[in-house]
């Protein structure tokens, strides 16, 4: 096998885009209970179900952590709901790509099979997103800062460092979390991007940690059809509480619409079984072992 020349670089310079558009809400919110979700992946049915559940749970403000598109059908429907219901939204890698007309989703996969299905998903989403929604996606902030009581929250898509960094439960060490919080001057960093929810607080300070809210666009590779989002609140003592909540929605209808749109059977199978059939190679050992494939 020959050596490749320096001019043939496979590195994608877009992968290193900084999270440089910060929406600073630290002076303007008195909320004590908020909802956070990410990864809609065009699943407008789950989006409505999650927003209704968040209202019933008493969330005063709802935050969307990015990635409106991908995987599911009819991209415009989810974006219209976000805009109509005044959800505080930020940009994920997918939104950056669709908004700026890039060639791929910048999901950060390294495996050819993962990238094959990601490209099918992206091409469909890009082709079916209206220009005025692309414009909206392009201008979204890339991170959000707010205070909940005396606690400093930083919302990012993959991580505060990079939009497509994967923060998995079993490969994100506690010493690293402490370093990240110190570097970012935050008490709770809230992210999505991996699609599987988890949270970890520091043993030395239970009011500090990372919360990955999961994704509402597809199940969490756990054999359940439901999807996950998070509530964060302040309790009577002023301590920070976070709860991961599971929400059911009309999966039969979503599966039928995905088939009608000609989306891959592998995607539909995930919606109907709760097990991931694609994007598997990016999973760490424990998360991979917990799935069916």
């Amino acid at each position: 096998m020959g050596m490749k020349s320096r001019e043939e670089s496979r590195l994608d310079p877009m992968m290193t885009r900084p999270n440089d558009r910060v929406l600073d809400l630290r002076g303007g919110s008195s909320a004590s209970r908020i909802a956070l979700f990410g990864g809609i992946y065009n699943n407008y049915l789950a989006l409505n179900a999650v927003l209704d559940d968040a209202v019933r749970a008493g969330a005063e403000t709802v935050f969307f952590l990015g990635d409106a598109g991908g995987f599911g059908p009819h991209p415009d429907r989810s974006i219209e709901i976000l805009r109509d219901r005044d959800i505080v939204s930020m940009q994920g890698n997918y939104d950056d790509s669709v908004g700026n007309g890039l060639d791929d989703c910048q999901c950060g996969y390294v495996d050819p099979r993962d990238n094959h299905y990601a490209q099918i998903s992206y091409d469909y989403t890009f082709a079916n997103t209206s220009q005025h929604h692309r414009d909206w996606l392009r201008e979204l902030p890339t991170s959000i800062r707010l205070n909940l009581g005396s606690h400093r929250l930083l919302l990012a898509h993959g991580s505060p460092r990079r939009v497509n960094e994967f923060l998995w439960e079993t490969t994100t060490s506690e010493p690293f979390i402490e370093r990240l919080l110190d570097e970012q001057r935050a008490d709770l960093v809230c992210v999505t991007h991996t699609g599987i929810p988890w949270q970890r607080r520091l043993a030395t300070d239970p009011n500090r940690g990372v919360l990955n809210v999961g994704a509402i666009g597809r199940p969490a590779n756990d054999g359940s059809l439901s999807v996950w989002y998070a509530l964060v609140s302040i309790d009577e003592s002023g301590d920070l509480r976070s709860e991961l909540r599971s929400v059911a929605y009309d999966t039969e209808r979503l599966a039928a619409e995905m088939r009608n749109e000609g989306l891959p059977d592998e995607f539909v199978e995930t919606i109907e079984t709760g097990w991931w059939t694609t994007c598997l190679e990016i999973l760490p050992a424990k998360e991979r072992a917990a799935g069916r494939f």
Binding site: M1, M3, K4, S5, R6, E8, S9, R10, L11, D12, P13, M15, T16, R17, P18, V110, D111, P112, R113, H116, R161, R162, W168, E169, T170, T171, T172, S173, E174, P175, F176, E178, R179, L180, D182, E183, E281, P284, A285, K286, E287, R288, A289, F293
Partner: protein, 309 residues
């Protein structure tokens, strides 16, 4: 120990440290903090001598000897203080070290761990113990098994006679114990390049009893014994100032990793036998920007490659 990368005084930034002693001037790469730590547990000592090894590991190469308990534990403590995200054990062959299981248990208390092995020493008892250690930790334990083909005819000329079957036995022991290994394949055979080659390799593994195969492909690095097999890097391969993308330190592993051997600290696991690559005697002293003036740096830049699992 400070959690911040040290790079000199605010008024006078430290000069980037070249990764080789060659006089060529390469591009500078910022250090964003220690995310990934490699421990060369058994140094350059290995139970086989692969023809494509990018160092010259083998049974008689003691250039980097085994790390002792004190070195490993001191390094792990410094890594914890520095906020390391994930750990890697490599060699040589890590399973030659008599204290390896102790090191694994200790590391999994503070972060996820990948071990790079040829699996020749992984019997059923060892595999079972590895599974127990994995189950006891909140973090992932990944075992990466090197294999260079889907037949003995492809693998054995590279890794040694009879190794193909023995590697598969070790990998099967892991699988039966409950650990699905990641097969690490250096792309010395053209048919396994690209997406189709990967699909072919995975199908072959399914046929051989690995129903959910995990595979990582690695490009050849033209160093060590591989340089003797396929030729050294041409001088034109060296990167120059201006070749890197803005923010490439976020993508190239050496922007956020270090490798520790019994002899000191190096910028990455590829360069431990290269002249001038040793950076310091301690982790903390190795923090700071580097200058990518070795031709192997171009392989990671061109391939978009990371040694991470």
């Amino acid at each position: 120990m400070s959690r911040k990368a040290t790079g000199g005084s605010p008024t006078e930034p430290a000069k980037p440290r070249p990764v080789s002693s060659h006089k060529h001037r390469g591009p500078a790469l910022d250090f964003i903090g220690l995310d990934v730590l490699w421990l060369q547990i058994t140094g350059t000592v290995c139970n086989i001598a692969c023809r494509h090894c990018f160092i010259t590991c083998g049974p008689k190469n003691f250039n980097h000897p085994f790390m002792d308990r004190d070195q490993v534990l001191t390094t792990l403590e410094a890594a914890k203080d520095s906020g390391v995200k994930e750990y890697y054990f490599t060699g040589g062959e890590p399973f030659m070290h008599p204290d390896l299981l102790f090191f694994i248990e200790r590391t999994l208390e503070q972060g996820p761990l990948s071990i790079l092995t040829n699996a020749l020493l992984i019997d059923t008892i060892t595999a079972g113990r590895l599974f127990e250690l994995s189950q006891a930790s909140e973090y992932s334990l990944d075992i990466r098994v090197s294999l260079d083909g889907t037949t003995a005819e492809e693998n054995d000329p590279i890794r040694g006679k009879g190794t193909f079957q023995e590697i598969l036995v070790g990998a099967a022991n892991l699988l039966r114990a409950g650990l699905n290994p990641v097969f690490t394949v250096t792309t010395v055979h053209a048919q396994y390049e690209g997406g189709d080659g990967r699909t072919l390799f995975m199908e072959e593994l399914r046929q051989r009893g690995f129903p959910r195969p995990r595979v990582k492909f690695i490009p050849p690095f033209h160093l060590g014994r591989e340089a003797q097999r396929s030729g050294e890097y041409e001088e034109s391969f060296r990167l120059s100032p201006g070749d890197l993308f803005p923010g490439e330190e976020e993508v190239l592993q050496c922007g956020s990793c270090r490798t520790v051997t019994a002899n000191g600290v190096y910028p990455c696991p590829i360069l431990i036998e290269e002249d001038g690559a040793r950076m310091a005697g301690s982790l903390e002293a190795s923090f700071g920007s580097i200058e990518l003036n070795h031709p192997a740096c171009a392989t990671c830049h061109v391939e978009g490659f990371s040694c991470r699992t």
